[in-house]
């Protein structure tokens, strides 16, 4: 009896372990993503995979970066990954993982150059310039949202430059109202909307070269140029009367609720605030939280105002990259398909995103949604110079750690200089 029980227990255990380690099927291509990227990927790739008879399974995990690295360390990496953080690539390289896309013959360099701009390719390169991943969609972050109806009602005009933006803010304060809404709460990631704001200021004030150097750690946080950007941001958030509810409200409001303030409460003349800065994906949050939201009517966005006219064409955004960890026939084909305009248009559609392949034209057919079309115009149109959300490319300890908490401390009134000094120390320690 005892023995039998022991055997059956052993069998059950073996079964459980077996189930856990058995791949779903040997020729199935595993795609691992984060932030619903895999779910969207699934929608965009299903038809192609059916036609090409490729078995694949796409799934999303929370904290994708660490799951991928852990699976690499455990010798069981997914075949393809879809990540919102370019910083993951260097981490994978440090763990001796990642299939170089050109060297392994997935793409030829010429092919890549035809499909993507140099800056787009740079997003997916490791420190030594090896192409490990490709951008497959982006969202716009250099956007300031407002309520056109309220702007009309009070006779305000869209500011084109930073000075005009500040003048407008002062005007709104003088009129007895509040110009800005700001929301930083995001669980343990609280503070990230503030890092976006500062990144945009740096990019528009100092241009892409300084921006890149700052992200790579060649320009310090304590550098006067970066320090000034912090001060400009803090002026907006900390100036008395500028933000609705002041700093305490900014740090305690969930980022998804930032847009609620631009619609006046029932029976009230003026809204709680007139503007907020957030990425294009915020629109779905605003629509979930408020009734009767219509893009172009009572909500719209304008491009981040010009600070230095020389860099008025710069634009900041986020997005996802796809890279390869196991090369097989199936994963190669899926990787190749992910770079095509067909796939990128479908993939971008799912979330007001923008395709990164240069051959995607900005028109109603490719971008049926006006928000995405406007964002595409900002990111891909004309001579726009795109830069990826810098904190996602910084070492995670800074970009997903102390930079976020620095924002929370600064908004609540911490002194700027010691905070910047600490960021520099953390950056140095993280790259050692």
């Amino acid at each position: 009896m005892q023995f039998k029980r022991f055997v059956s227990f052993g069998l059950a255990l073996a079964l459980m372990v077996g189930l856990a380690v058995t791949p779903i099927a040997q020729d199935t291509v595993q795609v691992l993503g984060g932030f619903n990227a895999a779910e969207n990927y699934d929608q965009a790739v299903a038809d192609f995979a059916d036609a090409a008879q490729i078995n694949y399974s796409a799934s999303d995990v929370e904290s994708l970066g660490s799951v991928v690295v852990q699976r690499v360390r455990a010798g069981n990496p997914p075949d393809l990954y879809v990540t919102p953080q370019p910083g993951l690539i260097s981490n994978l390289v440090a763990n001796d993982a990642g299939v170089p896309l050109v060297e392994s013959g997935v793409f030829s360099q010429e092919e890549l150059n035809n499909k993507f701009s140099e800056a787009e390719l740079a997003l997916g390169q490791s420190a030594d310039g090896t192409q490990h991943a490709l951008p497959i969609r982006s969202s716009l972050k250099s956007a300031i949202w407002y309520n056109p109806k309220m702007f009309d009602k009070f006779g305000y005009e869209i500011p084109k430059t930073w000075d005009e933006l500040i003048a407008l803010s002062d005007q709104i304060v003088a009129d007895g109202m509040t110009p800005w809404c700001h929301a930083l709460e995001s669980g343990s990631a609280s503070g990230w909307p503030g890092t976006d704001f500062i990144e945009d200021i740096v990019l528009h004030k100092e241009g892409p070269k300084v921006y890149d150097k700052w992200v790579n750690g060649e320009v310090n946080f304590s550098d006067p140029r970066i320090k000034e950007a912090f001060q400009m941001y803090l002026n907006v958030v900390r100036t008395e009367g500028y933000t609705f509810g002041g700093p305490t409200n900014a740090v305690s409001t969930p980022f998804g609720e930032v847009g609620n303030g631009i619609f006046p409460d029932e029976g009230e003349e003026a809204p709680n605030c007139f503007m907020f800065k957030q990425a294009t994906f915020i629109l779905s949050f605003v629509k979930d939280n408020n009734e009767g939201v219509k893009f172009g009517e009572n909500i719209d966005f304008f491009d981040f105002p010009t600070i230095n006219p020389e860099y008025s064409n710069t634009v900041m955004g986020a997005g996802v990259l796809m890279g390869m960890l196991n090369q097989s026939e199936g994963s190669t084909e899926l990787m190749r398909y992910a770079a095509t305009p067909e796939f990128q248009v479908d993939f971008a559609k799912t979330n007001n995103n923008v395709a990164r392949n240069n051959n995607v034209k900005i028109n109603e057919e490719n971008y049926p949604n006006p928000v995405a079309r406007q964002a595409a115009q900002s990111i891909e149109g004309g001579d726009a110079v795109f830069r990826f959300d810098g904190s996602d490319s910084m070492p995670t300890q800074v970009g997903s750690g102390s930079f976020w908490t620095a924002i929370l401390d600064l908004v609540q009134g911490a002194e700027l200089e010691p905070v910047l000094k600490k960021l520099d120390e953390d950056f140095e320690a993280a790259t050692q």
């Binding site: 660490s66 343990s188 002041g246 409200n249 300890q397």
Partner: protein
């Protein structure tokens, strides 16, 4: 029949194997990792420990854990004991105990979210959704961001208002547990003892301190040790309510962050070892106490 010497080992083998697999192996690996770099590739000696004890952030985290150790453990044990003894004397004991025990049935994450609503903040003049701020403002006060406000309450700067507000939530959840434990022990004490003490002229206070407490030593030490280990490894409430921001970070949360966000296995392992060493004396005391009393 003589038992061959290897037979007991055979019987113990499955248990030993599981223990080895789930306990000894990860612990040993963790210990080794704590002396290695972030990718667990090269040995870095004591660097991770040097970092831990010289970094203002981790030290603040350590202080926070000490605050939890004091306030949380005292709160849970004191309230549990007081409620158990006092409720024994009232007719509505069962209902009250059921109510107090109820939070135990809620996951810590659920409790944290519920209390996040209680502590919710809206600027002055706006409608207060949070219960506590609704009360404060209806009495004419200004709303307070309870989970954010880092107003120093004790002389140690990192011990602040928001830490205490979160500790209250954990105490709310765990008081029921300690109450049930204390109550069971209290009820198993012979009533005659207390009655004869009363006849001998002892007052209730003396009975409590000289009879009730000494007879409850075992359950009280067990709860205290359990709550101490619990306070040291606490994670959920803080993760849900502040995400470790605003100076509420705890060691267990730090481990999580260093593995999952910063991917620094060396440091995460070092913190885990520090945590283990901090818990160890309490566990050893507990086992020693059990042995002494012949419980195991």
């Amino acid at each position: 029949m003589r038992i061959r010497p290897w037979v007991p080992w055979l019987y113990m083998a499955p248990a030993l194997l599981l223990m080895g697999l789930y306990l000894v192996y990860p612990m040993a690996t963790n210990f080794v990792y704590s002396f290695m770099d972030r990718y667990s590739k090269e040995f870095v000696g004591l660097a991770n420990y040097v970092w831990f004890f010289n970094n203002p952030d981790t030290l603040e985290t350590l202080y926070n854990n000490v605050l939890w150790l004091i306030l949380f453990v005292f709160g849970v044990v004191f309230l549990g004991l007081a409620i158990a003894v006092l409720l024994d004397r009232v007719p509505y004991e069962k209902v009250s105990k059921a109510l107090i025990f109820m939070p135990m049935g809620i996951a810590a994450v659920g409790g944290g979210i519920a209390w996040k609503f209680v502590y919710a903040y809206a600027p002055k003049g706006e409608e207060q959704v949070g219960l506590l701020n609704a009360i404060v403002t209806s009495l004419g006060g200004d709303p307070i961001a309870w989970t954010i406000n880092q107003m120093s309450v004790f002389p140690i700067p990192s011990w602040s208002l928001n830490d205490i507000m979160i500790i209250i939530v954990a105490v709310w959840i765990w008081t029921g547990f300690s109450m049930v434990y204390c109550s069971a022990s209290y009820k198993s004490q012979p009533r005659e003892l207390r009655e004869s003490a009363r006849i001998d002229g002892a007052n209730e206070w003396q009975i409590f301190w000289r009879i009730t407490i000494p007879m409850m030593r075992i359950p009280l030490t067990t709860i205290t040790v359990a709550m101490v280990t619990f306070a040291l490894k606490l994670f959920d409430e803080v993760y849900v309510m502040t995400g470790g921001n605003f100076g509420t970070e705890l060691l267990a949360l730090d481990i999580y962050e260093y593995i999952w966000t910063f991917q620094h296995w060396g440091r995460a392992s070092a913190i885990a070892v520090v945590l283990l060493i901090a818990v160890l004396p309490f566990i050893i005391y507990n086992i020693w106490d059990y042995r002494r009393r012949g419980v195991i």
